[in-house]
Symmetry: C2
Amino acid sequence: MQISKGVEWAVHAASLMAALPEGQGLKAAALARYHELPAAYMAKQLQALSKAGLVQSSRGANGGYRLAKPAADISLWDITAAVEGAKPAFRCTEIRQNGPCAAKPKDCKNPCQIAAAFSAAEQAFRDSLKAVTLGDIGAQFAAHSPQEHLLHIFQWLSSEAEPLSQADG
Amino acid sequence: MQISKGVEWAVHAASLMAALPEGQGLKAAALARYHELPAAYMAKQLQALSKAGLVQSSRGANGGYRLAKPAADISLWDITAAVEGAKPAFRCTEIRQNGPCAAKPKDCKNPCQIAAAFSAAEQAFRDSLKAVTLGDIGAQFAAHSPQEHLLHIFQWLSSEAEPLSQADG
């Protein structure tokens, strides 16, 4: 049971985009470089975020990415679901309907007790991630980071960010 | 993000063992046959349950498995951890310490806000599964299954169960 590294990378990248000045974007290569990550794999995560409507991008020489919504409206579950998909981690294969004591289909209209318990646990996981937004992460980060580190990040951002003139979606 | 089929199979097998008469066990092959599952893969799950101390087994011609504890003392998390391991699903690789704005190691003694949020969500998932025991599953199953289905299961169990004479662990 493992959450892909893509989720970690996408959440960090989105957290960085949350600090961008209004109307500015970062290129995929810059977002990768910020954490020394492989550009191609970072681009893949950004495409997933874009497909889910969490980031907007502009193409071409000045192509870049920025959040498509306020940071307070993007939860860690939104990003996890964008990268990993929202399928349940526990995939019931209805084995209760197999074998010498198979349950009859008419008695299997509701999920079995085991599948229901895993579904509840996954809901608890999702609810926990839904309760944390990029806005929360940014506020906590700012509260716990040395001032000079925050200054360094804003300097880097202002040197790398470019206007996102033609937002394509 | 996926929980292996082995977890589903192990929970179903353990739920069946919870219905065994005192001192009786089921062979791995019978536990596999009960849900028409591949015997070798079922045996692998049983070994994982055994290694975690959740089932006891006896070797030899009469080898079999039964629960090592009361059903009320075995949670769905116990079984999940036995089969999947208890490592976190979100594996923080500390990418905050990379790149042009790398955080300093001395400022990274606590998990970053992102890793902490995923850790809390996983704890919610675990807590939810810890709150459900095989005893609960059995009681819910009995309450929601037709009487003739329960009778059928007990008949099958009494024809397949054998005394577990030499419990090896």
